[in-house]
Symmetry: C2
Subunit: 200 residues, 2 copies
């Protein structure tokens, strides 16, 4: 430890960040104090501001400092397609990777009775209300390809079906660029069973 209490406290505090151990925390604290005080001040402010003011959008439950988020309010986005994701990281991944221009709904979890996560915790009543509004024509179910994600997808599919709304699921199979020998068995079996004609 250094001779500075405040430095040691900063190193400790940095360790709440995911993937940051004692060594990187020390490196980060040194870097900020030796070279980036001005921008470090900005970081402290951005952190406080986000923690104090960012809550959840009342329509889609994504992070937002406003009652309704920018994605829900944007007139440029198609309100007839709604993509349901388990978490914000999934929303961000889809935004970055795809050209999707519809709306979202964030569950903040997946159906998992053992963790106390039922339909209410995932905001499904609110999702049902939203589907009842009649604007949504397609529900894209983008939950994870895990057992719990599949159970959740099934439940969401029922919500859509009961209202005559088309429900779709992301395609599963061998990743692009993936070599067959390194693909896990379940995925390979699924991809093999779901093989598609190429002369279309």
């Amino acid at each position: 430890m250094s001779g500075s209490r405040l430095f040691n406290e900063l190193v400790e505090a940095l360790r709440i960040l995911p993937g940051v151990g004692a060594k990187s925390a020390t490196r980060m604290a040194l870097h900020v104090l030796e070279r980036e005080r001005e921008r470090g001040r900005k970081l402290a402010e951005a952190l406080s501001a986000a923690i104090e003011r960012v809550g959840h959008c009342n329509r889609c439950r994504t992070l937002s400092e406003d009652e309704t988020c920018g994605l829900c309010l944007s007139g440029a986005r198609d309100a007839s397609v709604l993509c349901v994701v388990e978490g914000l990281q999934d929303l961000l991944a889809i935004e970055q990777a795809t050209g999707y221009r519809g709306r979202y709904f964030v569950l903040h979890g997946r159906l998992s009775p053992i963790d106390g996560l039922g339909p209410d915790e995932l905001g499904l009543p609110r999702l049902a209300d939203r589907l009842d509004e009649g604007e949504v024509r397609e529900l894209i179910i983008a939950t994870n390809a895990t057992v719990e994600g599949e159970v959740t997808a099934h439940y969401l599919g029922e919500l859509a079906r009961a209202r005559g709304i088309a429900a779709t699921r992301l395609a599963h199979g061998v990743p692009l660029g993936g070599e067959l020998e390194f693909v896990d068995r379940t995925t390979l079996a699924h991809a093999f069973g779901g093989r598609q004609r190429i002369d279309r």
Copy 2:
């Protein structure tokens, strides 16, 4: 990008940290806002406090919020041994790895005229004054084993010699656990030339 401006700003701000790219910054921001708001608040405070109040110790130039740091004031440390390091990370590494109980002097760099780093920038007049006080009996020169580090070490050695103070340098050679075939040529040649008798 998400629909939240404050979230996006936090992600941007986190990228000043070394080793943090867009992806880890996003993961960190999500983690803090979804799970660690209370500790995130503490991090913002620790960051502000350190940035506003931590300066350099007036004796050894390490980070300190007090005029003289804890390492210099501690009566438990031997004032007759002084270890000179290029940077704080070196001081911290020595504190963690060794049982060293003497004092330090931090150069914040190495002699490098091309970068505008001369004796004054490295605080060498202050180091000379310290050696003149007569308390120091051994000067441990722990600059890096680079060309500039060696030049600096030579300069420091002269400072010590002129005052009849013993100067020592960290031992160089094959790292413990290192396999010869993977050791770089310069180190191997140095270790070979500096081979030592084992029957002592």
